[in-house]
Amino acid sequence: MQKTEKVTRRQFIKASIGAATAFTIVPRHVLGGPNHTPPSETFGGALIGCGGRGNGTFNAMGLEAKKLAICDVKFVGREDNKTIYKDFRRVLERKDIDVVAIATPPHWHALISIAAMEAGKDVLCEKPMTRFIAEGRAVAEAEKRYNRIFQVGTFGRFDRSRNPNDILIHKIMASGLLKKNCKGVHIKSGGLKVKEWSGMVNAQPQPIPKSLDWDFYCGPSPLRPYHPHRHGGTHRGYWDYEGGGLTDMGQHHYDPVQWVYAKDDTSPVEIEAYSPPAHQEACGMWGWVELKYADGMTFVFDSREWGEPYNRKQAREVLLSDLSEEDQKNIKEMPDPEPLVSFAEAVKTRKRAGGNADAANRSATLMHLANIAIRTGRKLRYDPVKEQFIGDEEANRLVNPPMRAPWHL
């Protein structure tokens, strides 16, 4: 055996470190090739909304993105308008920013998403996508108009779309063979954090912290007296900013389910809630909400936190045996749906993301419909094409509530 073939562990490590060092002298993004990011795949990123979900949302983009700017209305006195910003509009003026992660409270989601796409950026927006129904349609229109990538920050549909049983259900539903007699009932019981994310009804005004631009925080929503419970996570408990645990957790749960049951392009037609009268400003307790699609498919939110648990229907999957033998054969011959495209892949290839604005609008709409049924206290009928309630002027006032200037859709 030759001497040169003998390499001690110490020598090996030394050599390895040398090689690694030499390798890293050249920036990774310049190299390209498999497992390396070519220059065209490096991105300038910005994070707008730097609360608890901020970094998680930014990292969820799954891209080689350099965080060039962070922005939050709580940065009063800290903003340098180079890396730290208070006003998202200044961030969007930067030409070196390609992708924007939005993790503000939801009353800002749609407006910032739209403004970002108008400025040519791609957007990953934290869930829930919107605060009210019309915002979702406006985001979808902007996505289409500017041909930008939009992905909502909930990803359960990607896993479900790879599950063989879910693919089968998706194919049955997408086939349209169960047009008017779908027996499916999906019930989400518990886990909706209803009490945890309720609002205070006796909050008294308090001094605004010097680091916070409260007027900007309220933005399109009514300007209320400051109280810390309205800001910093507990904002979830107020209609002005979100819609309680139902809105916050609902899209996590029902966005994947919506894909499984092939409802990305429609919404329920009947909505009924069991709840006490809602408070004007604070989200509160409710029992259950039943949402029925035109084909009979029913989604249920069962809070298990107020009143009697839901007992109108039993959960029931859609089955292949719901179809005639001939139709079953047709379903088996149907090709599987195209794999959903991740945000990172969409940004690179310009294909549409799996959790795009149209789909996300529909899943966010489920929560908004449920909350409007809770707030109005009556059974509602909804037109999924017009995205308006039928024969209910007052309920429609909650579909597209006017914003405070200068903010508008």
């Binding site: 509009r89 200044r90 969007l92 003026e93 030409k95 403004a115 108008e118 400025a119 040519g120 108009r145 500017y146 041909n147 930008r148 009490k195 309720s198 609002g199 205070m200 009804v201 006796n202 909050a203 008294q204 005004p205 009514p222 300007l223 007296p225 419970h229 408990g237 709840s275 006490p276 009268p277 809602a278 408070h279 004007q280 604070a282 509160g284 307790m285 107020w306 009143g307 707030r375 109005t376 206290g377 009556r378 007052e394 006032r397 509530p401 006017p402 405070r404 200037a405 200068p406 508008h408």
Partner: protein
């Protein structure tokens, strides 16, 4: 009177107390529904007394009266009795402009946004000139819709600054074609936000006579103003196409396609190209 006040107080007391965290977590639907219905049965006097219990935030505890009033507003919408709803909304509207604290009046306006109809729009319109009430008043008027444009139009020459901005934006929301001249004038305002709001309003109205003005605004050098005014142009093109006005639509798309030639604005050029193709199919 004292007897009635005492009865009202008793009904109000039946409503749930906030828990230790300030939440209405212990709430019984039947109790609330029954108490609110009985308050309603008391008619105008009962309603006025309830309104009298409201105080400015920080000046006392009015959690239950506020909740009761909102429940009543929602109940009015659930009722088939249009007359009851009007009694409710008119009683609230009569309190506007009086000596009640502005924060209380604001709350009443929010309830009118829930249950009000055209019968209260003139009263709300007067509040458009009030520095503390113009925002909720504008939102309530626009939510109600019927008669909103006239009130906004009347208020426009009488207000300045943020109030003017609010009126201009909402004239766009209600798509008031009779305001086109005033909005065109506002395009020359010194305030950038007013210029942008006027541009968006003209676009949303779909005014074919504004094409050149909006295209000029969209060629601004400031990045934000340029992007926002460009959005207005694309919106105007869509509105014009919806109305079957192909020629001005093509003009907008052609201009944007040809002037957004740099790599930073290629997506605008692409959007215009796509719009142009769509217009040419018509």
């Amino acid at each position: 009177m004292a007897k009635q006040s005492s009865a009202l107080a008793e009904l109000i007391n039946r409503l749930p107390d906030p828990d230790e965290r300030g939440l209405l977590s212990n709430i019984d639907k039947e109790t609330v529904d029954s108490a609110v219905s009985q308050i309603n049965e008391g008619g105008r006097k009962s309603l006025r007394a309830l309104i009298g219990m409201l105080v400015e935030p920080g000046r006392g505890d009015d959690v239950k009266p506020r909740y009761a009033l909102h429940c009543l507003a929602v109940q009015m919408c659930n009722s088939d009795e249009e007359k009851s709803r009007r009694v409710f909304t008119r009683t609230l509207a009569m309190q506007l402009g009086g000596d009640k604290p502005k924060a209380v009046q604001k709350y009443l306006i929010r309830q009118l946004q829930v249950a009000g109809g055209k019968e209260v729009v003139p009263a709300l319109g007067k509040m458009l000139e009030d520095e503390e009430l113009y925002e909720p008043a504008a939102q309530a008027i626009v939510a109600i819709g019927d008669g909103a444009a006239e009130q906004l139009r009347n208020a426009l020459p009488k207000v300045k600054g943020k109030m003017k901005l609010t009126i201009i934006q909402n004239l766009g929301v209600v798509r008031d074609a009779k305001s086109v001249d005033a909005l065109k004038k506002a395009l020359g305002n010194d305030d950038r936000e007013i210029r942008l709001a006027a541009g968006w309003a003209l676009a949303n109205i779909g005014d074919a006579g504004s094409v050149d003005l909006l295209l000029k605004a969209a060629d601004a050098e400031g990045i934000y103003e340029r992007a926002t005014a460009t959005k207005a142009c694309l919106l105007l093109a869509e509105r014009l196409l919806e109305a079957g006005k192909k020629e001005p639509t093509v003009k907008i798309y052609t201009h944007l396609r040809d002037t957004r030639s740099g790599p930073d604005e290629a997506y605008i050029s692409d959007a215009a190209e796509k719009g142009l193709a769509s217009a040419n199919k018509r």
